[in-house]
């Protein structure tokens, strides 16, 4: 396997390798024992071989990852992938069958309450008692968290104000919309100013407008106070907007972990780019493009060319060559792989391999998905993405002629 071919596996495996200090699982004070700025040696969240089995099967299978303070991590995967189980394990709701986890340096299996004091959770369902008002729901949570009533009421007022729910503060939750409930639930999750925030499907069940609001809110939460956020979702749109890194889970196993760009560089070689020539490219232009160093693939398009280049720096040279041949270049549009491209490629490879980890035997990288492939995916109004296999896609454009398609 060539160097780039193995890089995806390396990216995944390096990022999932445990911390270097060999620290034991003893409970240690949160926020203590670490010098300020000693970020790399004190991850906000760390797991090693974390495993949980249920009678119905393995929900989480040897999960190893590390999340730095202030980072937004997206846990991606279909339903049943193990995202919610991961959050429950990290917050000490479930106990692992194997491996260990640490949140802010504390093992949730050893001292779950200490972990929960410093984390906030927004569950998939807002989890508000409909018979109580927003204030009563939040006040109950604040009291359980040990806040005195005066402070709690002040914080509740501030949070409801911030989330635009002040006018519904004293009304039963029963009459609130799903979006309003999510806002109240977010306010509740932030009452005690947690250092780590777990957001489990925060936008599920919301209409597009509410999704935008909630995503904006989460975006602002993630950037304030260096808060660490774990975002569980199968909506790639919000993950792409919010997350620094992504972990792709499927059937309880971690299949990829890293920044989308890092994962993409391990999956594919090259940058697909559309060159608008105002009409079909001549054979001379296609041949000339193929002759430029660093150009991997050339497709003829009705209005020009689609090329795959080794890197962005190849483009000026390519354009110069085309201009030398009297081509009129109306536009050059690079299409770096999106989060959706990365996610679906990983899913496809996992499905092909049927394996646990894409380790060492990853299929050699191919060109990133073309514009045509992308068009076959649909970003739903709610931000979810429907893959190519999910009906009903629009009729795909005709495949390029084999002779045109490859160099």
């Amino acid at each position: 396997m060539d160097q780039t071919g193995a890089s995806f596996a390396r990216v995944a495996l390096r990022y999932v390798t445990p911390r270097a200090d060999g620290q034991t699982g003893h409970s240690t004070p949160i926020g203590g024992g670490a010098a300020a700025g000693d970020v790399l040696s004190n991850p906000a969240i760390e797991t090693y071989e974390l495993t949980r089995r249920f009678p119905s099967g393995v929900a989480l299978d040897h999960l190893t990852l590390r999340v730095e303070p202030g980072e937004v991590l997206a846990l991606l995967g279909p339903n049943g992938a193990g995202k919610t189980t991961t959050v429950r394990l990290l917050n000490g709701v479930l106990r692992p069958n194997g491996g260990w986890a640490k949140v802010l340096g504390v093992d949730p299996e050893v001292d779950p309450n200490e972990v929960r004091r410093h984390t906030g959770v927004l569950t998939e369902h807002a989890g508000l008692d409909e018979r109580l008002t927003a204030v009563e729901n939040l006040l109950a949570t604040a009291r359980i968290r040990g806040l005195d009533d005066q402070l709690a009421r002040r914080r509740i007022g501030e949070m409801l104000e911030r989330f635009g729910m002040s006018d519904r503060a004293d009304e039963p939750v029963r009459g609130a919309s799903t979006g309003q409930r999510k806002r109240i639930a977010l306010a509740r999750a932030l009452l005690h100013e947690p250092e780590v925030l777990f957001l489990d499907e925060p936008t599920s069940g919301l209409d597009p407008s509410a999704i935008r609001d909630v995503v904006d809110l989460i975006g602002s939460l993630a950037t304030e106070h260096g808060r660490t956020v774990v975002l569980c979702t199968h909506f790639l749109g919000e993950a792409g907007q919010l997350a620094d890194r992504m972990a792709v889970l499927s059937h309880g196993r971690l299949h990829a972990f890293g920044r989308p760009s890092e994962l993409a560089s391990g999956l594919w070689r090259g940058l697909p780019t559309e060159i608008d020539l105002g009409g079909p490219a001549t054979d001379d232009l296609v041949a000339a493009a193929r002759g430029v160093r660093g150009v991997q693939l050339v497709h003829a398009l009705p209005n020009g060319l689609e090329v795959v280049v080794d890197e962005r720096q190849v483009l000026p040279q390519l354009i110069s060559r085309l201009v030398e041949l009297d081509a009129e270049v109306f536009g050059v549009v690079p299409h770096p792989p999106t989060l959706e491209d990365v996610y679906f490629e990983i899913e496809a490879r996992v499905a092909t391999k049927g394996s646990s980890q894409l380790d060492g035997e990853v299929p050699p990288p191919v060109a990133p998905p073309s514009a045509a492939t992308r068009k076959r995916r649909h970003v739903r109004a709610d931000g979810g993405v429907v893959g190519p296999s999910t009906p009903p896609p629009p009729p795909p454009p005709p495949a390029p002629h084999p002779e045109e398609a490859t160099r």
């Binding site: 990216v11 034991t24 260990w100 569950t123 008692d129």
Partner: protein, 293 residues
């Protein structure tokens, strides 16, 4: 395209052996009362829970005294001679010494209702306990609760108290109403306040809370395993109903016999209830709850 090289990792996994346990901490009463307060407030606003829960106490503690007093006042009163002939002499003698119209009132309202009254704390605690965890699951509020910093023990305790306190309060308030209604409705016949008696005092303040705790010992555990309140009630019904029959059937005459016997019956019920609840608390874990979500 540049491949970003992540930090190389060379570490061995941290050992899991020798991991300690968090030291046992005292009960966090603020958290416990917060859950109790939330649950009681929510129940008070739920007609679907409150109405069925109040129906039996109202019928038994208001309807029954009114009926007995009304029936005794008509014609020659209720004829209970044949019934009293089957009752031990030391119980029957004082009643037989009363005027005929007063006999039925004293027998029924002063003695026979006492053991039946135990249905009230048992039923109320069972209804509320069935809702304790199963209701939270149904309303999808349980997961949020499990993510809060309250220990498993304190969470279980708070759910016990959320059902126990209302059931005892309803029993005691119901008994107060029963006293007023019974004495008032029977006044034209009795011409005196004949309730409460020592027997009633023992039943209300000693046996009734024990019976409520017994119902909880069963129903909270059932609730933790059921997915809905309805399922919990159905599951609990197979256990609770036999207990009701057993308690009422077997203790009726015991409670009527002597005060010390009533005290002993209460002590036995308390012992069983405490054992059941302690066992339930020890076995209760979030993990078990979350597994059934």
């Amino acid at each position: 395209m540049t491949v970003v090289e992540p930090t190389p990792a060379t570490a061995a996994p941290a050992p899991t052996a020798g991991r300690g346990r968090a030291p046992r901490v005292p009960i966090d009463w603020q958290a416990v009362w917060a859950v109790v307060n939330k649950d009681v407030t929510a129940v008070r606003r739920s007609k679907a829970v409150v109405l069925p829960m109040l129906l039996v106490p109202v019928l038994m503690l208001v309807g029954l005294p009114l009926f007995i007093s009304f029936a005794s006042a008509r014609n020659g009163g209720l004829h209970i001679d044949s019934f009293l002939s089957n009752v031990p002499h030391h119980l029957a003698a004082p009643i037989l010494s009363l005027p005929p119209k007063q006999q039925a009132i004293v027998l029924v309202l002063g003695f026979l209702v006492a053991p039946l009254f135990l249905i009230v704390p048992l039923m109320v605690s069972a209804v509320l306990a069935a809702d304790a965890f199963a209701g939270e699951k149904e309303r999808k509020t349980l997961e949020t609760l499990m993510h809060l910093p309250i220990s498993d023990r304190d969470l279980y305790l708070s759910k016990l108290l959320s059902a126990f306190i209302p059931s005892v309060v309803i029993s005691w308030v119901g008994f107060a109403i029963y006293l007023v209604v019974s004495n008032a409705s029977a006044w034209p016949i009795m011409h005196r306040i004949f309730l409460p008696t020592w027997l009633w005092a023992v039943v209300i303040f000693w046996v009734a809370p024990a019976v409520a705790a017994l119902g909880l010992g069963v129903m909270v555990r059932v609730s933790a395993r059921a997915r809905t309140s309805q399922e919990a009630n159905q599951l609990g019904g197979t256990v609770i109903l036999p207990i009701v029959i057993l308690v009422v059937g077997q203790t009726s005459f015991l409670l009527l016999a002597q005060i010390w016997v009533s005290l002993t019956v209460g002590a036995v019920v308390w012992a069983i209830a405490i054992w059941l609840n302690l066992r339930g608390a020890r076995r209760f874990t979030r993990d078990m709850l979350a597994t059934r979500l």
